[in-house]
């Protein structure tokens, strides 16, 4: 197995475990949260956070799970994973000097790149689906339930968002030779976007508005994907992959 694919397997497993470790206590805490929601709202330091607590109070367990898993867990940890998985895909080879020997073997560049892209993508999105699949069981422990199919739809939406970030970092990796600045740049951009999200008045300029409570709430309520948001994200994902293939075809060892 390609060395990088092994790394993706290990990182993907670690990412799954972390996501699950964030999810389990969050769900088990639900009864206490529901009981103390008024006090929690009073403690929230930002208006945006107070609004979130309001949303949770109105949306019940579905809004709570969406907030804990998709908005908090997947968005934060997933963004980190997307940047880390993608930044070293090609730039890492250049940085350690193995790019030439990687390209010199009897495989086409397209195959090498797609193999790596999809391995990283799988490591990024599979844990989202796997952890989402455990939610119905975890909810049963606190006497709650949710439609598994609607959870999967939410996972599709979350995965598409992370794939945009992954695709951007992957493209940068095809263009540059040092993975660390790529990871830092992508993470700084996403932190900046998250900061925008938390400021009332300009929150709608943040990309995290595409994956917040309202979006997941709508998917859960309607039982279908929001194609107005998902469609453009898929277009961006394909465009970034095309740009990566183009850049990699011209990449010098």
């Amino acid at each position: 197995m390609d060395q990088r694919l092994r790394i993706y397997a290990v990182l993907g497993t670690a990412y799954f475990v972390l996501l699950e470790l964030m999810l389990i206590p969050a769900i088990l805490y639900w009864p206490d949260f529901e009981k103390n929601i008024g006090a929690i709202k009073a403690l929230a330091p930002l208006d945006v956070l107070k609004d979130m607590v309001d949303t949770l109070a109105q949306g019940g367990i579905e809004a709570y799970v969406n907030g804990q898993h998709f908005f908090k867990g997947v968005n934060t940890l997933g963004t980190l994973a997307a940047a880390l998985f993608a930044c070293s895909a090609v730039a890492g080879e250049a940085h350690r000097g193995t790019l030439e020997i990687w390209l010199a073997r009897p495989f086409s560049r397209r195959r090498l790149l797609l193999e790596r892209y999809f391995a990283g993508a799988l490591a990024l999105v599979l844990p989202i689906f796997l952890t989402s699949a455990t939610i119905p069981y975890l909810l049963s422990l606190v006497g709650e339930s949710m439609d598994p199919w609607r959870l999967i739809l939410c996972a599709v939406h979350a995965a598409a968002f992370l794939m945009v970030i992954y695709g951007l970092a992957f493209l940068l990796s095809c263009l540059r030779s040092n993975p660390l600045p790529i990871a830092l740049l992508v993470l700084m951009l996403t932190v900046f976007e998250f900061a925008l999200y938390l400021v009332k008045g300009i929150t709608h300029y943040s990309i995290f508005r595409l994956v917040d409570f309202d979006d997941y709430g709508a998917i859960m309520a309607q039982g279908r994907l929001n194609l107005a948001v998902l469609g453009p994200m898929l277009v961006v994902i394909v465009a970034l992959l095309g740009a990566s293939l183009h850049a990699f075809a011209r990449r010098l060892p």
Binding site: D2, Q3, T98, E100, A104, P106, F107, P253
Partner: protein
């Protein structure tokens, strides 16, 4: 365009390059190159750093797309990313980089991915012959051991053409000798080997012919015998730094010297023939000329030859 050969099999084991060019940021790395090699034999690729040797090899296997020209190796044309050629040749880059966390066996398998199981078996056998600890991680390997692993990987495939860039760099003399023996056996079996090297002793020892490159151009392609003959047409005289070199050169040219080059106190004369006696008699018997401190003939190294013939240093 390269003319289509009447018999496709005629190109098997050959490297045919016509008008190959490549520039980086407007700076020419390869001038239009025309090179015809093989089938069979070991061809040394010589030149100073930056002469274009590695770029040339990378162009041959499609790692660096050429700006123009055609390449045909073992009957396959260089198109796209060069996959057709990489399937038909084995190539070992000069830059030595490994995945330190992999064990020797796994790394060898990675290097030979895309080849058949027999190839991996041959690579493993060769690595074991070199005494490489295939169960150990590459991070524990010395530089020379990593180079041997590369060598095992590049020699394992049954191909008609091998492209080797600095394949013995970092090897101790005994391992280098073994590598030379294996290259010789391989070439004698009909394989065409293009060997880029800075080690002129190695090139002189194993190569059947040599290509000299400088600044992306082929200065000369000569057989080992021709290089030896050239060596015998050179006479080097060493004088004091302040001696009258113009007068020495004048006398030498009048007695059968085609060209003269001075470097410090050394004057290298290129003779019209392979007999230095007439020139030696002229410059040594002229009473107005200083006495040479040292006379060298017929023992000039390839490095000396390269330097004197092309006025270029080989690093």
């Amino acid at each position: 365009m390269l003319a289509k050969p009447p018999d496709p099999g005629a190109d098997l084991g050959c490297i045919r390059v016509l008008g190959l060019t490549r520039s980086f940021d407007g700076k020419r790395a390869l001038a239009p190159l025309d090179i015809d090699i093989g089938p069979g034999g070991i061809v040394g690729l010589l030149g100073p750093n930056g002469s274009g040797k590695s770029t040339f090899l990378r162009c041959l296997v499609g790692l660096v797309p050429p700006d123009g020209g055609t390449v045909r190796i073992d009957g396959a044309d260089l198109v796209g990313d060069g996959l057709a050629i990489r399937r038909r040749v084995s190539y070992s880059p000069g830059e030595l980089a490994v995945y330190g966390e992999l064990r020797g066996e796994a790394h060898l398998a990675w290097l030979l991915a895309g080849r058949d199981a027999e190839t991996l078996g041959r690579g493993r056998a060769l690595a074991l012959e070199f005494g490489l600890p295939l169960k150990s991680r590459l991070r524990t390997y010395s530089h020379g051991m990593k180079r041997q692993l590369y060598f095992a990987a590049v020699m394992a495939p049954r191909v008609r053409v091998r492209l080797l860039d600095e394949i013995t760099e970092g090897l101790d003399p005994s391992k280098r000798n073994r590598v030379h023996e294996l290259l010789r056996e391989d070439a004698d079996a009909g394989t065409t080997i293009l060997l880029s090297s800075h080690n002129l002793g190695e090139v002189r020892r194993v190569c059947d012919s040599m290509i000299f490159m400088r600044a992306g151009e082929v200065l000369s392609k000569e057989s080992a015998d021709a290089v030896q003959r050239r060596s015998r047409s050179l006479l080097r005289l060493t004088y004091g730094a302040h001696d009258d070199f113009a007068a020495i050169e004048q006398v030498a040219r009048a007695s059968g010297v085609r060209d003269a080059r001075r470097r410090g106190g050394r004057l290298t004369l290129q003779l019209d023939c392979e007999d230095p006696r007439a020139v030696l008699a002229a410059v040594c018997s002229a009473s107005q000329l200083p006495k040479p401190q040292r006379v060298e003939y017929g023992e000039l190294s390839l490095e000396d030859l390269y330097r004197e013939l092309y006025d270029a240093e080989v690093s």
